[in-house]
């Protein structure tokens, strides 16, 4: 919250777009602003009405260097925009640095994301220390089509203006905490000696030499990858990682997504009845990759680049009581299966589970 808890005394606010950046089509600017306003009106009783030729509560403009508000912009990068807390005159106004590369996608700086953040200030919110929050001070790109207002921001704005009038109260994603005992994973893979744990739009990154776990948006490294990766595995020999979501998969060569991806998973030999992959790991000694889907698994020969015959088989019959597999990876000869908050360490030589741990055991909690 902003010191002094400033808020608008009314719910029906007005906004005006004073000028446009030449870097985007006007229609795209209008759309970005309307979408940004809906981020806040969807979770509060607030409404926003566009006005043209009079003073509005929220005046939105693109400004250049010193624009006479005692807060000069600093050219490309650095400070992207700022906005003023609710109040008369400049109160509520949003200023965007004209020298930034404004876009409507992942290139440069996404106008929708930045304006949605600044409108949070216009409504009385200050910065959040939650790295996943919209009100976190540093810019991070999220695909606007996948954007959901995080719970941290919903809690903040509703503490000021109350809940929305919607019958069903909207909720938002919560930022994963590495030492949360209830943490589960969508997918896990090794990547050049590190371990990547995928969760929603996040990736928890664990380097064997570092005690801390790093939390990043998937989009920070791979803007073209969707959130919600469902399975992943590393082919260590080829220095490749495959990432799966629904009927498609992407290929990372080193750290970069290879051109020509995503491809349909059926290219790997899955039957059309298979709609998605839950988990996967690759055994670099045998060159066999195991795909887990519901209660069955397939085995793929990386050298022949085709599925082995005689599959699918029941997971329980060959891996024991590990249930459905959310995520899996192999490290130092053992396979680690994740089911909810439980993790099983499986010895493929002895063909049995040798240990059961918590899902967060890798994070030095």
């Amino acid at each position: 919250f902003t010191a002094g808890n400033p808020k608008w005394k009314k719910n029906n606010l007005t906004y005006r777009i004073l000028n446009y950046t030449p870097k985007m089509r006007q229609a795209d600017v209008d759309e970005a602003i309307q979408k940004a306003l809906r981020v806040w009106s969807n979770v509060t009783p607030l409404t926003f009405q566009k006005v043209e030729d009079k003073e509005a509560d929220i005046m939105i403009s693109f400004a250049y260097r010193d624009h006479r508000d005692n807060s000069p912009f600093d050219g490309p990068n650095g400070q992207l925009a700022h906005a003023f807390q609710p109040g008369e005159g400049i109160g509520g106004d949003v200023h965007l640095d004209e020298e930034e590369a404004w876009t409507k996608d992942g290139r440069g700086y996404n106008l929708f994301i930045v304006i949605a953040h600044e409108l949070g200030h216009s409504l009385g919110l200050s910065h959040s220390s939650d790295p996943g929050a919209l009100m976190y001070p540093a810019y991070s790109y999220t695909d606007p089509s996948e954007f959901l207002l995080p719970q941290d921001d919903i809690d903040g704005i509703q503490a000021i203006y109350g809940q929305s009038d919607a019958a069903v109260q909207p909720t938002g994603p919560v930022t994963p905490q590495a030492c949360d005992p209830n943490l589960t994973f969508d997918a896990i893979t090794t990547l050049r000696g590190e371990i990547m744990f995928f969760k929603g739009r996040y990736m928890l990154r664990k380097h064997p030499e570092r005690a801390e776990t790093e939390l990043n948006f998937i989009s920070l490294f791979w803007p073209n990858l969707p959130s919600g990766i469902q399975a992943a595995y590393e082919n260590v020999e080829r220095d490749e990682v495959l990432l799966f979501k629904e009927g498609k998969y992407w290929l990372l060569r080193g750290y970069d997504i290879a051109p020509g991806y995503p491809k349909p998973i059926y290219r790997l030999g899955f039957p059309k009845t298979v709609k998605r992959v839950n988990a996967a790991y690759s055994d670099e000694t045998t060159g066999k990759t195991y795909f887990f889907i519901a209660d069955r698994y397939w085995r793929y020969d990386e050298n022949k680049r085709s599925m082995d015959h005689g599959y699918p088989r029941k997971i329980a019959s060959d891996f024991g009581k590990i249930g459905r597999v959310d995520a899996a990876f192999q490290k130092d000869g053992y396979v680690y299966f994740f089911h909810g908050t439980t993790q099983f360490q499986f010895d493929p030589r002895a063909k049995r589970i040798v240990r059961q741990m918590k899902s967060i055991s890798w994070f030095n909690c």
């Binding site: 902003t2 010191a3 807060s71 992207l80 109160g91 640095d97 790295p131 540093a138 810019y139």
Partner: protein, 84 residues
């Protein structure tokens, strides 16, 4: 004499740290850097405040991670206090 690169970097680093803390953490402009005791204390305190906010290791020193965060593009509103 040409300035040794390290000292030049240090100068730039200090400049980055000071302007960041001045912009976003209310570091007073006249925090008397030449009076090592008070000026340095305030800068260290502000740096710690910034590190705590971003969940970085609170060292009071401009370590790599801290400088990395300071170089990230961001919103111009301060992280503490009012913006009027």
């Amino acid at each position: 004499f040409p300035v040794a690169p390290e000292t030049e970097d240090e100068g730039k680093t200090l400049q980055l740290v000071e302007s960041y803390l001045r912009n976003f953490y209310d570091l007073q402009r006249d925090h008397h850097p030449h009076l090592r005791s008070t000026g340095e204390n305030q800068l260290v305190e502000k740096l710690k405040e910034m590190q705590a906010f971003f969940g970085l290791k609170v060292t009071g020193k401009p370590d790599l991670e801290t400088l990395g965060m300071m170089k990230k593009p961001r919103c111009g509103v301060p992280d503490i206090g009012q913006y009027v």
